[in-house]
Symmetry: C2
Subunit: 343 residues, 2 copies
DNA sequence: AATTGGCACTCAGTACAGGTGAGTGCCAGA
DNA sequence: TCTGGCACTCACCTGTACTGAGTGCCAATT
């Protein structure tokens, strides 16, 4: 069992280790923190913490370093989210003011997050899966080529060019438009996808090759709506932090390039009652990121909730990073709420 | 003056150094290459090469390493572009077959290039600056909200939502569509931009606030067409090569994140008569990439020519990388020619 | 004039030894 | 339960010696 003071010692070790990046000994703890007891007493507490595998010694006689389990306890029980400075808050506001469109807003979001934290920033796009289709427009580009534009009520727009196996004229296009409109407008993306796919059933398709071709393209567009998207920034900051990741940032860069891994990881994180989440060190091992930690915060978009997060070394400054993620997420929620469709 | 054999020695040094990553001495040269002379003779040649600053010694008595100038001579006079293996050629073909759209094609292009070379791959999008507008479509999303879609003859499509200061009905939209159509359809992107901007002249604008708002949005879209875009892959490979860049890959990662630097760098490279270009080491210093080299090859798209390239350490394998860039560029040109609009 | 073998010299890299100091673990006493 | 004291460990630094790859130069050879 770990005593109350033992936990405070753990907190001190985590804080000092994150600050100095060096194993912390009993002596430096009594110097830097006012525990009112001697180094020997701290040593006894540290022995307990070591028994519980909350801290570990890199080699026989050296200071201690928090284990991943130790960080977990720190985050769950010991860390209070440190509120941002007003300067930081206003930085967020000015940086995110007046975005040109959703892409711009997301890009700025990750940029401001990486600037605040000095780490890699991640942000999920608002999901359009639960959004519903408000418009479908067909634009004739050539006699056998149509531009298919879909619009959702959550502000998502998608466009794609469909090549048709037959030529169509103005009238045909109007008919197709009306027919497709009736089929998917006011439906959710998921429903629309079902209904468009149903067109492929032998019965429906044979009749109209143009419709069949459009169905394929529309299916792709809907699929894209359903897909989660991720935007990132700050990969360059990893270069400075090489040794924080046991000497190889390769898995991190891979994950950043892959996207899909990070997307899954972020989706699977479990948020607490404040909408905050942390995934620490070896908890990410299944994703090949056992040396990294990710903190994230939910934000609310018209289509549902999504997440913004920060990825960094296991020995990151959790209170600050959680605070930054939360602040940005809140601001993002507010922006998306005000200007509903995300412009 | 450097003798003929001296140049062959330079070639040997570059080849061996690229292969082994270690300074190469006179002895290992006579062992690995059939010069038919003794090591002492090679040493004399090397002394000349050193006078010409084509090679340098990291420390007083060690093997020699090519200087940036040495690489330049190698690339210009000594390197023959090594043709790809048939396996590699067919890899390109299968990898690039049947792209879904232009984005997909470009993404695959850089992926295949990074796979072939193990380096960072870069590709400029075909420029739409000289393309011309074939369609403009306005879709009413709400009474004061229009989706503005632009299509170019080079396959570029752009869409953006415009918020209007006034409500408009079906008829208004039709009028606006006709008016804008007359203004920019069949014009080049550059012309269209001029004409749209002309709308902002006091005379035109006051009359119609809706038109003014649309002009702003269309201006943004056209600007986006004019902007060059870059797509990249293989950033993760840099992690393995850290020491190749004097220990810091930070500038490279920054440049990759910036994009705009690399875009300028690629644009400013001068291609030779075969459409190939190389920018070596300190030639890139103005861009903060003095430790990196970039090779590139032009490809031909409907809208004009653009470039694909490879970025890696100065000590890269120039013949192979030039060959890979050239092969991919050629294949890309062919694909874009066949399927003119890039789908 | 070009090439060669020989030789002294340089210097990075490695291995070894000794010294230092931060830090621990443990114990007896308060 | 806490504390001071003490022996012990071990990373890290420093200095020394050795090794070997490689050069630069020169006199001899072709």
């Amino acid at each position: 069992m770990v005593s109350e003071r033992g936990l405070q010692v753990l907190r001190a070790i985590v804080q000092d280790y994150v600050a100095t990046h060096e194993p912390v000994g009993s002596r430096s703890i009594v110097e830097r923190h006012a525990f009112g007891v001697s180094a020997a007493t701290i040593r006894n507490d540290m022995a307990q913490l070591e028994d519980e595998e909350l801290i570990a010694a890199p080699h026989t006689s050296s200071g201690r370093v928090p284990t991943d389990k130790g960080y977990r306890v720190f985050v769950n029980h010991l860390a209070q989210v440190r509120p941002l400075s007003t300067a930081q808050r206003s930085a967020i506001e000015t940086f995110l003011a007046d975005p040109a469109d959703l892409d711009d807003l997301m890009a700025r979001t990750v940029r401001v997050l990486t600037q605040l934290t000095g780490q890699v920033a991640l942000a999920q796009y608002p999901s359009f899966a639960r959004a519903s289709i408000t418009h479908i427009e067909l634009v004739a580009i050539a006699s056998n080529r149509l531009l298919v534009v879909l619009v959702t009520d959550a502000g998502g727009v998608s466009q794609r060019i469909a090549g048709l196996p037959v030529d169509v004229d103005e009238g045909d296009v109007a008919v197709l438009r009306a027919r497709l409109s009736a089929l998917i407008v006011a439906r959710s993306v998921a429903e629309a996808l079902d209904r468009v796919r149903a067109l492929h059933e032998p019965v429906g398709v044979r009749q109209d090759p143009a419709l069949a071709a459009l169905a394929v393209v529309i299916g792709e567009e809907l699929e894209e709506f359903r897909q989660e998207k991720l935007v990132m920034a700050g990969a360059a900051t990893l270069a400075r932090r090489e040794q924080d990741f046991r000497g190889s940032i390769h898995p991190l860069l891979e994950a950043i390039e892959e996207q899909v891994t990070l997307l899954r990881l972020m989706s699977e994180m479990v948020v607490d009652e404040h909408g905050l989440a942390a995934s620490i060190g070896n908890e990410n091992a299944p994703f090949g990121l056992g040396e990294a930690s990710i903190v994230a915060s939910d934000y609310v978009a018209p289509g549902g909730t999504a997440r913004v997060g920060i990825m960094g070394p296991t020995r990151m400054d959790y209170p600050s990073n959680l605070a930054a993620a939360r602040a940005v997420a809140r601001y993002l929620s507010r922006m998306l709420e005000e200007d509903d469709a995300g412009r």
